[in-house]
Symmetry: C2
Subunit: 354 residues, 2 copies
């Protein structure tokens, strides 16, 4: 009997509203496909926890989480009470780094029923993966602040890239491209302007490409690449990017497919030495939190990605099919997709469509 | 008699093809509006020059350029012979820094005749300015490379932000917003992830906003901001951003309005202590260079921005009207806009429409 232990961390805002729907569909898939999910809920990694304890997570968070098969995450952040850089560096970004989840993987896929903001794009015409470096690069904790509060004030933050860190994410991306029918990889760079780190990134891409002679590859500077996402999204298959560039592209890509409300993401430790984490791309959305109108599809699609990662491929496919079925019905879509359904109604519909 | 000295630097690739059209329209505007343009052409800041001299510009480039009223620039870069970071840091980025052109100003405006890749957007519905910091931030020359060629290889590049540098570009952006009917300013940040420099940026925005009580302002993290450009481009009025974020947004914004082939930009020294520089947003486009098919509108619109900067407001407006007239005629548009006209034909048509 297949049994998975899942750490469930809803977090803040709409994270607390979409998580029950993610879990609902997960449990339903387990019943139908013959595996068991043991849920372990945690209330930390949230600003509520911060309000009570003055920190985002307990000191022994690693012990409390233990060794689950995966982490199922909602969203974190409540800027009214805790500045974002404190809430995020105290939770999500810690997981990514401490669990060495060095790949952040996100699809940009145009689904039926989700109108694209781009003119004339049909479901199926946009379908690519963004592979983002997730532990180093521009997201660094090295730097400082001098002459604070004076006219001479200066802040410095260092981007740090290592061959170790760059090569392993490139290898993951080239492997992924190699398994796709189109075998095409695009590297995001900015070596014309960011002239120390990005030429190094380019060099490593070129070196890695030599090991994958079946993969066609190209590179674009990040500025024109964002333009290409809008103008020619059908050109892309696998896009690999540094931490910051990947962050940007993996909001922009899903936006080009209609809404970031449906997009999932995996923060993956491909070596299997630590748990991987699955969460929707959207944030805690304070502006709509508490109203029961958030779109649960991002959370549910994240459940599918998690099951895929755990080897439950059939169940993952079935969830995707159920999502597509429900999205086709305007009556079951949430407000962001011009529908009338609430979070729970949409989640229940997907569980039933399974 | 109004007389302007203009340094004309065509640069590389299509820069050499669109510049004659920019100059053609400039001269025609001068004749019609009663001012004189003295052109001073320079062949440096190009990869051809590099091929002959082993550097992008002569040592005494500042003396050779002298004190023109403005610099009219084409495009630079020819990666087949000179790596981009060498060609750019040896020319364009030098101008920006040495001439203290601390504002990079770019419009995102949907013109008639230019189909937007976004569904259902009409001319007039997208009309905003991007104000980019242009001398510091992520474009730094501080950092280095260690253990090159080994497994331990590491590269570091520092983002440097100063209160001096941030405040002056914010002041420019708030002033601009204050003069616009909507009086709305959006700040691009990433203070949740880039947790040393960007929270400082946010602080300075908040401090500056206190001086502009008539300007409504908000901020978005850069990832979701790129998504908003695609989903709700009509929300924006003035967008202010750091060097890198501004670079990205000012390709994405114009892409949302159809093509970066028509977009202009000014690298401005608002203090008037050094010349400002005007150039199209597009690059040297090696893939289409030499074919006479490049769109000259970006160069010509840049001429209009330059004239506006020089106080020739009537002439600037007339050029914009001429551009709009010509763009409405499919027979006069270039291939990127699904037209059949060549670079010269399009340029001549705009000069005549004046
Ligand atoms: C060519 C490159 C260095 C430059 C930049 O990044 O500033 C260009 O993209 C621009 O926006 O003018
Ligand atoms: C919340 C934020 C720190 C985070 C990031 O920038 O990585 C988010 O945007 C994401 O993409 O998961």
């Amino acid at each position: 009997n297949r049994r998975y232990t899942i750490a469930v961390i809803p977090g803040d805002g709409i994270g607390k509203e979409v998580m029950p729907e993610g879990v609902r569909v997960l449990e339903r898939a387990a019943a139908l496909y013959g595996f068991t999910v043991e849920q372990r809920w945690h209330d930390f990694a949230s600003c509520d926890y911060y309000a009570r304890h003055g920190r985002m997570m307990p000191e022994d968070w690693k012990e409390q989480i233990g060794s689950p098969d995966a982490i199922f995450f909602g969203a974190v952040g409540w800027p009214e009470t805790v500045p974002d850089h404190i809430s995020l560096w105290g939770s999500l970004l810690q997981f990514r780094r401490e669990y060495d989840q060095y790949v952040n993987l996100r699809p940009a896929r145009l689904l039926p029923g989700v109108p694209s903001p781009l003119a004339g794009r049909e479901p199926g015409s946009i379908d690519f993966w963004i592979v983002r470096e997730n532990t180093e690069g521009e997201y660094s904790s090295v730097g400082g602040h001098m002459f604070a509060g004076t006219e001479r004030e200066v802040v410095i933050q260092e981007t740090v890239m290592t061959r170790f860190g760059v090569d392993r994410v490139l290898r993951y991306a080239f492997d992924l491209a190699n398994r796709r029918p189109n075998r095409h990889l695009t590297s995001a760079t900015k070596s014309n302007g960011i002239a120390i780190t990005m030429p190094f990134w380019d060099q490593r891409v070129e070196a890695m490409a030599a090991n994958y002679t079946d993969v066609r590859w190209d590179k674009y500077h990040i500025d024109i690449l964002t333009a290409q996402f809008v103008l020619n999204p059908d050109r892309f298959d696998v896009v690999v990017a540094s931490n910051l560039f990947g962050d940007i592209l993996s909001d922009l890509g899903p936006a080009c497919t209609g809404t970031i409300g449906v997009a999932p993401s995996g923060s993956i430790n491909p070596d299997g030495t630590h748990p991987s984490l699955f969460e929707p791309v959207h944030g805690s959305a304070p502006d709509i939190a508490g109203k029961g109108i958030a779109n649960p599809v991002g959370q549910i699609w994240s459940a599918a990605m998690m099951l895929e990662h755990l080897g439950e491929t059939e169940a993952a496919k079935a969830i995707m099919a159920a999502i597509e079925t429900v999205l086709k019905d305007p009556g079951l879509r949430t407000a962001d997709l011009k529908g009338k359904a609430g979070t729970e109604e949409c989640g229940k519909a997907i569980a039933e469509a399974l």
